[in-house]
């Protein structure tokens, strides 16, 4: 694929990453269904925003994520085997099995301080931004959060401090329309959260979260602005959570019409279809991509399965430095 012009190469790469994320989460659903993994949150349908934003970053940048982190981690290059091991509470996981699925951090990848307290990552992000800004250097901080997290006051406290102290933070709201079992229509009067930025003097943009190229372009512009000004930016990606909040989940409370409309806009399908239609990816290359992703997932699952549980003395290790 090296012959392709840059954007198309990027798009193929993004498609592969999105396929990997999709396959990972489907593996998780399957493992859970077979009683091999604890309940977990998937972000099926939201792959484009994770991949588009992370593609706009450099290795100096740090990422904060939350309970719905698989896309962010895998987009950043995380090993799906170590992720699955973590979800299964195995010692080979990124956190030695102590996190489980909900708060996976991978410092080596710059994915730091994951909190499953909704809003938690927003309160930590300003601190990471402060370190970055005091230590100098080019890196910025990206904080992923949901539309629900924007209902927590911490969202506002974080934006305000970042504005007042001029912290280099890209706030990325993945507005997936849902906040666990509650639709965002029940929790806010606007359709999104970007409208809050202006009162803090923060620039913002809203982007189609199911179009990875659009996300990538918006994120690239935002990151450039942050690197230039040192100021925060709020990017809102409009997307949809295609499965329930937590495995297992029956989605009985979801409006079937809304779900169907968004299923039509499945970002993995859309991108693949477009690349194939435009002749940028032929069917066999796509099939190979899919296969290699499946193979990686099988290896990952095998790694996780083979990884031992933590030793008993881990129970009280690493509480204190």
């Amino acid at each position: 694929m090296t012959a392709l012009p840059p954007v198309e190469a990027l798009e193929s790469m993004m498609l592969e990453r999105m396929m990997l994320i999709r396959a990972y989460e489907e593996t998780l659903v399957d493992l859970h269904g077979r009683g091999r993994a604890a309940g977990t949150c998937t972000a099926i349908g939201q792959e484009a925003s994770a991949v588009g934003v992370v593609a706009a970053l450099t290795p100096d940048d740090l990422i904060l994520t939350n309970h719905r982190s698989a896309g962010h981690l895998l987009a950043r290059g995380a090993d799906p085997g170590r992720m699955l091991a973590e979800v299964q509470g195995k010692s080979g996981g990124y956190c030695g099995g102590k996190s489980g699925s909900l708060h996976i951090s991978a410092k080596e990848l710059g994915v730091v301080l994951t909190s499953t307290i909704v809003g938690g990552e927003l309160a930590l992000a300003t601190g990471v931004g402060l370190s970055r800004s005091m230590q100098g250097g080019p890196g910025i901080v990206v904080c992923f959060f949901g539309d629900g997290a924007a209902c927590e006051g911490r969202f506002h406290e974080s934006l305000n401090l970042a504005a007042v102290w001029s912290l280099p933070i890209l706030y990325v709201c993945e507005n997936n329309q849902w906040q666990a079992f509650v639709h965002r229509k029940e929790t806010m009067t606007a359709d999104g959260v970007a409208g809050h930025a202006a009162a803090y003097g923060i620039d913002s943009a809203v982007v189609d979260g199911n179009d990875p190229l659009a996300v990538f372009e918006a994120a690239t512009a935002a990151v450039a602005a942050i690197r230039r000004t040192g100021k925060p930016f709020l990017l809102e990606a409009m997307t949809y959570r295609l499965r329930g909040h937590f495995e297992p989940d029956d989605q009985s409370y979801v409006d079937p019409g809304e779900l169907a409309r968004w299923r039509e806009r499945d970002p993995v399908v859309l991108l693949r279809r477009r690349l194939e239609r435009d002749g940028l990816l032929d069917a066999s290359a796509a099939a190979r991509m899919e296969e290699s992703v499946r193979a990686r997932m099988e290896a990952a699952a095998a790694f996780a399965e083979a990884s031992p549980y933590p030793a008993p003395e881990e129970l009280t290790r690493d509480v204190y430095a």
Partner: protein, 323 residues
């Protein structure tokens, strides 16, 4: 008698109290989605979903309670109460006193905690002792479906803020619930088993652990009083002291961490008020001073097990620790 799970008992208590008193309402993140039956029966004004913001949920309950409503709020998991501490502790717990008795705060806060789901330390943290330590609050942590039903009913009728903690592992456990069970007064422990040699004091999931240990101890000729505190505040000091006066030995068992936990309070109480009866050191078996790990085997190891209770009691009765 009906067989009922803890979750069903909670639902039944809510429905009955909402029927009984039109000022009772319930809200929280997903409450109206998950409690369709209540929504159907009582309508959207009394069964509400909220925005995702525990602080304002608790503050709204506190303000509403002081002005004529009797709110029940579901804050989901105990660690999320960290976002609502001002409202629960500084407002609901203190403003009655601070105002010289001008206001009452008839409200209930529901939350889950405990090992069992592998959800890790930000969903599983047994912080009940914080609220026992704080003035103006009551704290309930039942172990059986019948108690969940009866104590939740009492909590809703109480004119003070009551925190009701549900051990996750108990949610789907079933038990007998009398058809006509009414409110069970807060502040009364339940003696689950009678014995003479040792008092096992516990609450929530580890009551079962103590009962299992008592079975095994009985085989070894040691008989145990097993006291289920049920209500942590008010604490049934009389029941604890009576039992220890009889047995002379005390082991307190809970999942919460040891330091400044409810076990510390029970042990200190006995060391003061039943000292003359004590024949052996007072032992506590508790969770370690560590966050709760997600990994299944570690999560299980976090919680005191029957083996350890048996060993502790044997050390008191026979072993090096006997006085």
């Amino acid at each position: 008698m009906t067989q009922m799970t803890v979750n069903d008992a909670i639902s039944a208590a809510l429905a009955e109290e909402m029927r009984r008193d039109p000022s009772v309402l319930i809200f929280g993140e997903g409450v109206a989605t998950k409690r369709r039956d209540l929504l159907g029966e009582f309508g959207p004004a009394r069964v509400r979903n909220t925005p995702l913001a525990e602080g304002i949920i608790a503050g709204t309950a506190t303000g509403a309670a002081a002005t004529g409503l009797r709110p029940v709020i579901d804050l989901l998991f105990a660690p999320f109460l960290c976002y609502a501490m001002d409202e629960i502790v500084n407002s609901a717990g203190k403003l009655r006193y601070v105002s010289g008795g001008q206001f009452e705060f008839p409200m209930v806060v529901l939350a889950m905690t405990g090992a069992g789901w592998g959800v890790g330390a930000q969903h599983n943290h047994n912080i009940e002792s914080w609220f026992v330590h704080s003035p103006g609050l009551k704290v309930v942590m039942p172990s059986t479906p019948a108690d969940f039903k009866g104590l939740l009913k009492a909590a809703i009728r109480d004119d003070n803020p009551v925190l009701v903690f549900a051990d996750i592992a108990l949610g789907y456990s079933a038990g007998e619930v009398p058809e006509d069970i009414d409110a069970i007064p807060l502040g009364q422990a339940a003696l689950r088993r009678e014995g003479d040699d040792v008092t096992l004091v516990s609450y929530a999931k580890t009551v079962g652990t103590c009962l299992a240990a008592a079975d095994r101890l009985a085989e070894a000729g040691i008989s145990a009083d097993v006291l289920d505190l049920r209500s942590l505040k008010p604490l049934d000091e009389g029941a604890i002291l009576r039992s220890v006066a009889k047995t002379g030995r005390l082991v307190v068992v809970h999942e919460a961490s040891r330091l400044c936990g409810v076990g510390a309070e029970v042990a200190a109480l006995v060391a003061e008020k039943a000292f003359a009866s004590l024949r052996a050191p007072v032992l506590r078996l508790t969770g370690p001073d560590a966050p709760a790990p997600a990994s299944f085997p570690l999560e299980q190891a976090f919680v005191p097990q029957a083996d350890a209770v048996v060993a502790a009691v044997q050390s008191l009765v026979h072993g090096a620790l006997a006085a």
